[in-house]
């Protein structure tokens, strides 16, 4: 769900980036954050809550609320709303607290 036309803004989405989300190959663009690239592909659930395992999505999108934490390239608790997407990144939904490597 990318914005195609906008009366004010132009989005320079040129270079495609491939990444892996839960074992599945997805595409985003250079300049996307991980959360934005996932959202553009319709992925809203980024993790599960610590105790009740309720679905979690982002809330603030600017790195304040920690609702978007995921495991990225094996590192737990990455704030995906402010972390840029990179080629070949392995992104996983995080259950619980995550494991410190």
């Amino acid at each position: 769900m990318r914005i195609k036309e906008h009366p004010i803004l132009k989005f320079n989405k040129e270079k495609k980036i491939k990444f892996i989300f839960n074992g599945q190959e997805l595409e985003g663009y250079e300049g996307d954050t991980i959360a934005a690239a996932l959202h553009a592909q319709g992925v809203k659930v980024l993790g599960k809550s610590l105790f009740l395992h309720r679905p979690r999505g982002f809330y603030c999108a600017i790195g304040n609320c920690s609702s978007c934490l995921m495991t990225v390239n094996g590192v737990a608790n990455v704030k995906t709303c402010v972390t840029d997407l990179e080629e070949g990144m392995v992104v996983e939904t995080q259950e619980g607290k995550g494991v410190i490597v």
Binding site: R2, I3, F11, V45, G57, C60, A61, I62
Partner: protein, 360 residues
């Protein structure tokens, strides 16, 4: 340990203006910002600003960082910029701990500090309010206007203040349907010029309404709203269900200023300024010497006021450590007058009432 004359924490409208003002007086400035580029939340404000020319009225928010950075570049031999850097600690010894790119820590010892860390979005309590699809209005603005991604297909906007109204309009600009705008208050909080524009586009604004519950399994599928009485209690039998996949929470901001509390500045809860704010004098110096505050971190207002507070705090911080320009009193008076003008309308009455409670 890194030495600095003035450290400005936060490179949004307040921080950039503070840095510029201090550098103009001749002080060396270090700007620390956790984002990859400066400008704070201006980078998603596609609307034209209100206020007066001095605060870039009629300019789109997204264009202001460039103007400010160009101005700041005039003092580039005085200013050092550290992006991707978060100030994570600030204690009694006055040393700031910075985390750079999530993996490198270092310490900075400043002579004076301007904390311009902004604000964060408030939340609202209702059953299932944690479902994905329920986002801060500012978050949706970031997703759309910075990343070019639509938040969903149909949105319910909760809050008819300026942010709620402006983001609703921006959603429609991005091609997203807005089902309705709610506000628990009996009156629209934002400017009527925004509200009229939205109503003309066929979006109902339901005052005296709140969210009763959100419905959905993995993400938001429906939202149930209801009317409230004058004491904000839900009125049974007034429920309306909206088929929406996005709900935007736009119920205000609250100052983000834990660093000041950590440093030992006296804080006070002032509802009119939207939360816990530092006690300060008219120069925006807190109760800890040489620690200044500016922008939303000092109480939630508009970006225009944040910029002027930045200029004032930067000027006064520089003067405190020995960089007092010949036109100090003129500049100070000019900034204070600008703030008074910005706060002269009826919409700013609560700000003035709030400021009365925290003046040192």
């Amino acid at each position: 340990m890194k030495q600095a004359e003035i450290v400005v924490i936060g490179g949004g409208p307040a921080g950039l203006c503070a840095a510029m003002s201090a550098a103009k007086s001749g002080a060396g400035v270090l700007i620390i910002d956790r984002n990859k580029s400066l400008g704070g939340q201006l980078v998603k404000q596609t609307h034209m600003f209100f206020g007066s020319e001095k605060q870039y009225a009629s300019t789109r928010g997204i264009d202001i960082p460039e103007i400010l950075l160009k101005e700041l570049a005039k003092y580039k031999d005085k200013v050092e910029i550290k992006t991707n850097s978060t100030a994570v600690g600030f204690y009694e010894d006055g040393v700031i701990t910075v985390l750079e790119k999530e993996d490198k820590y270092y310490k900075v010892e400043p002579k004076a500090v301007v904390v311009a860390t902004g604000a964060y979005e408030k939340f609202l309590s209702f059953p299932n309010n944690d479902l994905p699809g329920i986002y801060g209005a500012g978050a949706v603005q970031t997703l759309m206007n910075v990343h070019g991604v639509k938040p969903g297909n149909r949105v319910l906007m909760v809050g008819a203040g300026n942010i709620g109204l402006i983001v609703s309009y921006q959603l429609m600009q991005a091609g997203v349907k807005v089902a309705a705008i709610l506000d628990a208050a009996p009156k629209i909080g934002g400017y009527l010029v925004h509200a009229s524009k939205i109503r003309r586009m066929g979006v109902p604004i339901l005052t005296s309404h709140t969210v009763k519950e959100a419905i959905g399994k993995d993400f938001l599928e429906k939202a149930v709203v209801c009317k409230v009485d004058e004491k904000f209690n839900p009125i049974p039998g007034t429920e309306i269900t909206f088929d929406v996949d996005v709900m935007c929470i736009s119920v205000g901001l609250t100052p983000l200023n834990e660093l000041l509390a950590m440093r030992g500045c006296r804080m006070k809860y002032v509802p009119q300024l939207s939360g816990l704010v530092p006690v300060r004098d008219e120069n925006y110096e807190t109760t800890v010497e040489n620690i200044f505050v500016a922008g939303d971190a000092s109480g939630v207002e508009e970006a225009s006021a944040a910029m002027v507070e930045g200029y004032l705090a930067g000027l006064c911080a520089a003067a405190k450590i020995g960089y007092k320009p010949d036109d100090f009193y003129e500049r100070r008076k000019d900034y204070m007058n600008q703030l008074n003008n910005l706060r002269s309308g009826p919409a700013a009455r609560h700000i003035l009432a709030g400021l009365d409670q925290i003046r040192r």
